[in-house]
C-alpha cells in the first residue's frame, strides 16, 4: 500500500513539485532534511506526523512564508496559491464580505464574494463583523476567502484544530464538497489521522523531515466503521508510534 510518489506514473505535470528540500531553524539539525514531494492537480493530500516533524515548516515553505528560515532545495508551486490558517485570520475591522473579497480585483468581486459566502453557508452574514461569528463560522468565512480566489493550490494548516468535534465533522463534509467543486490541489496539515483519511486522496506521514510513509486512500466508503478505514487508521497510527489497540 505504501508507495513512493516518484514511482507513480503520471502523465500530467504535477501542481506541486518539491525536490531535496532542506530547512533548519538552528545548527543542531534540520527540520526538513531533503524532502521530495509531488502533488497532482486536483489531488487532496493530507500531511500528518508528530509535533516538530516539519509539517508546518513544509506548508510555510510552499506558501512562501519562510524567507527568514535557513535552507535550500527546489520548490515549484502554481501561480495562485491560497492559505487557510488555524485561526481564521479575518481582519477584525472589515465586515465578513469585505474580508472574503479582500484583495480581489474586478468589478464582479462583490458578486463572487457573495456566492462564495453562500457556498459555505454564510449567506445573509455579509454585513456582520468577524467577532459576531462563531469559531466555525469564522473558519467557513476564511474558507470562502480562499476559494473565491479559485486557487490551483490550497494550503491548510490545521484549519479545524480549534473547532469542536461536531463542527469539525460538518466542516469536513463542507471542505470535501468545496474541493470537489473547485478541484484545487490541496495540502492539509493535520494532527488527526481520522481527519486525514476522511478527507484525503493520499496521506503522507512526515518523520525526521522526510516523507516516511505515503499511502493512497482507496476507500469506497469513508465511514469510520468501514474495515478498510480501520486498517488504514491502525497502519498510520502504528507508523506514528501510537499503539492503536
Amino acid at each position: 500500500m505504501a508507495q513512493d510518489t516518484r514511482g507513480l506514473t503520471t502523465t500530467v505535470e504535477p501542481a506541486v513539485r518539491v525536490r531535496n528540500l532542506h530547512r533548519s531553524f538552528n545548527e543542531n539539525g534540520g527540520v526538513l532534511n531533503g524532502l521530495d514531494l509531488d502533488i497532482a492537480p486536483g489531488e487532496f493530500v493530507a500531511l500528518i506526523g508528530r509535533s516538530g516533524t516539519g509539517k508546518s515548516t513544509l506548508l510555510r515553505a510552499l506558501a512562501g512564508l519562510d524567507r527568514d528560515v535557513a535552507g535550500h532545495g527546489q520548490i515549484e508551486v502554481p501561480e495562485s496559491v491560497s492559505v487557510v490558517f488555524q485561526d481564521s485570520r479575518l481582519l477584525p475591522w472589515k465586515r465578513v464580505l469585505d474580508n472574503v473579497t479582500f484583495g480581489l480585483r474586478g468589478p464582479d468581486a462583490g458578486e463572487r464574494g457573495r456566492k462564495a459566502l453562500e457556498e459555505v453557508g454564510l449567506a445573509g452574514r455579509e454585513r456582520s463583523w468577524p467577532y459576531e461569528l462563531s469559531g466555525g463560522e469564522q473558519q467557513r468565512a476564511s474558507l470562502a476567502r480562499s476559494l473565491v480566489r479559485e486557487p490551483e493550490l490550497l494550503l491548510a494548516d490545521e484549519p479545524f484544530g480549534a473547532l469542536d468535534a461536531l463542527t469539525r465533522i460538518r466542516m469536513h463534509a463542507l471542505l470535501r464538497k468545496l474541493c470537489e467543486a473547485h478541484r484545487p490541489a490541496v495540502l492539509l496539515v493535520t494532527h488527526d489521522v481520522d481527519e486525514a483519511i476522511v478527507l484525503a486522496d493520499r496521506v503522507i506521514l512526515l518523520d525526521a523531515g522526510v516523507v516516511h510513509t505515503d499511502v493512497r486512500v482507496d476507500l469506497a466508503n469513508r465511514s469510520r466503521s468501514d474495515a478498510g478505514f480501520a486498517e488504514l487508521r491502525s497502519l498510520l497510527l502504528d507508523r506514528l508510534g501510537v499503539d492503536s489497540e
Partner: protein, 282 residues
C-alpha cells in the same frame, strides 16, 4: 445542580417576572452606559462652584461667581468682540492641529513601516518630546517672527507629538499574522497600508487625537500671550492687566468648553469608527 463557583453569584431583582429566574455573576466590566454620563461631572463641578460662591465660601477675589462670569461674558460679547476673539483662537488652533495631526500621522506611518524612516524620524521626535515647547518659543520667534506663522507652527509641533507616538505604537501593535495573511493574498504595498496598517493603527491614532486636541489648546494659551491682537489669550492678557478676574474666568471657561467639546467629538467618532471592536468600551 452541582457547579463549582469561584465567586458568589449575585441574585438579581426579578422585575416582577416570576418566570425569569437566573443566577447572574457579578459584573467586572464598567457595565451598561449611563445616559448623559458625559455631562454629570462638569455639571457637578458647576454646582459646587455656584454653591460656594452663593454661600460666600469662594470669595469673588479668588474666583468670580458663575453669574458674574455670565455678566462678564455678555459684556465681552457685546462690547469687546468676544466672538471675534473666539473665532480667531479657533482658527489658529484648528490650522495648527490639522497640520500637526497630518504630519504626525504621516511620519508615524513612514517610521512604523520603514527601518530607514524609523532611524531618521523617531530619534528627533523623541528629542523634541522632551524639550518643553515654552523653551522653544523664543527660538521660533527669532525664526518666524511674532506673527501668526510662529503661533501655528508651535501649535502644530505640540499636537504632532502625541499623534506620532500613539499612531506609531498602534501600528507596531498590529498582529503580525495579518501582515502574513496579506502576503499570502498578494496585495500591493499601497493596499497593505490602506486595508491593514491604517485601520489597525486607528485606535492608537484616535487616542493620540484626544491628546493632540488638548495639546493644541495648551499651545494656543501659550502662543496667544505673545503679541496677539485677537484671541482668547489676548483677552486674558488684557484682563490680567486690568485685574478683571471675571473676564479671566470667561477665557478659562471658553478654553474648557473648547477642550471638552473637541474631546467629546473625538470620543464619539472613535465609538462609531471602532464599531468592529468588542471591548469594555461597549
Amino acid at each position: 445542580m452541582t457547579t463549582t463557583l469561584h465567586t458568589t453569584p449575585v441574585a438579581v431583582d426579578d422585575k416582577g417576572d416570576a418566570s425569569d429566574k437566573r443566577v447572574v455573576r457579578r459584573r467586572l466590566g464598567p457595565g451598561r452606559r449611563i445616559r448623559f454620563a458625559f455631562w454629570i461631572g462638569p455639571v457637578l463641578a458647576l454646582t459646587v462652584w455656584s454653591i460656594g460662591s452663593a454661600t460666600g465660601v469662594i470669595k469673588p477675589a479668588i474666583l468670580s461667581a458663575p453669574w458674574d462670569v455670565v455678566v462678564a461674558f455678555e459684556d465681552q460679547w457685546v462690547n469687546h468682540d468676544l466672538l471675534g476673539n473666539i473665532l480667531s483662537s479657533l482658527q489658529r488652533s484648528a490650522i495648527g492641529l490639522f497640520l500637526g495631526v497630518t504630519t504626525g500621522a504621516v511620519l508615524a506611518v513612514i517610521s512604523g513601516l520603514s527601518r530607514i524612516g524609523e532611524s531618521l524620524i523617531d530619534g528627533p521626535i523623541q528629542i523634541k518630546r522632551s524639550v518643553p515647547t515654552l523653551a522653544i518659543i523664543p527660538l521660533f520667534i527669532a525664526w518666524f517672527g511674532i506673527g501668526q506663522e510662529m503661533k501655528i507652527i508651535t501649535i502644530a509641533l505640540i499636537s504632532l507629538v502625541p499623534i506620532y507616538i500613539h499612531t506609531h505604537n498602534g501600528l507596531r501593535s498590529i498582529d503580525g499574522k495579518y501582515a502574513e495573511l496579506a502576503e499570502t493574498i498578494g496585495i500591493s504595498h499601497g493596499e497593505f497600508i490602506r486595508h491593514i496598517v491604517l485601520p489597525g493603527a486607528l485606535p492608537g491614532f484616535l487616542l493620540g487625537m484626544r491628546f493632540a486636541v488638548t495639546s493644541s489648546l495648551l499651545g494656543l494659551v501659550v502662543v496667544e500671550q505673545y503679541n496677539a491682537v485677537a484671541g482668547i489669550g489676548h483677552m486674558i492678557t488684557l484682563a490680567e492687566q486690568y485685574g478683571q478676574t471675571d473676564v479671566i474666568v470667561v477665557g478659562l471657561v471658553i478654553y474648557g468648553i473648547f477642550g471638552y467639546c473637541a474631546d467629546s467629538a473625538v470620543r464619539l467618532t472613535a465609538r462609531r469608527v471602532l464599531a468592529w471592536r468588542k471591548t469594555l468600551e461597549g
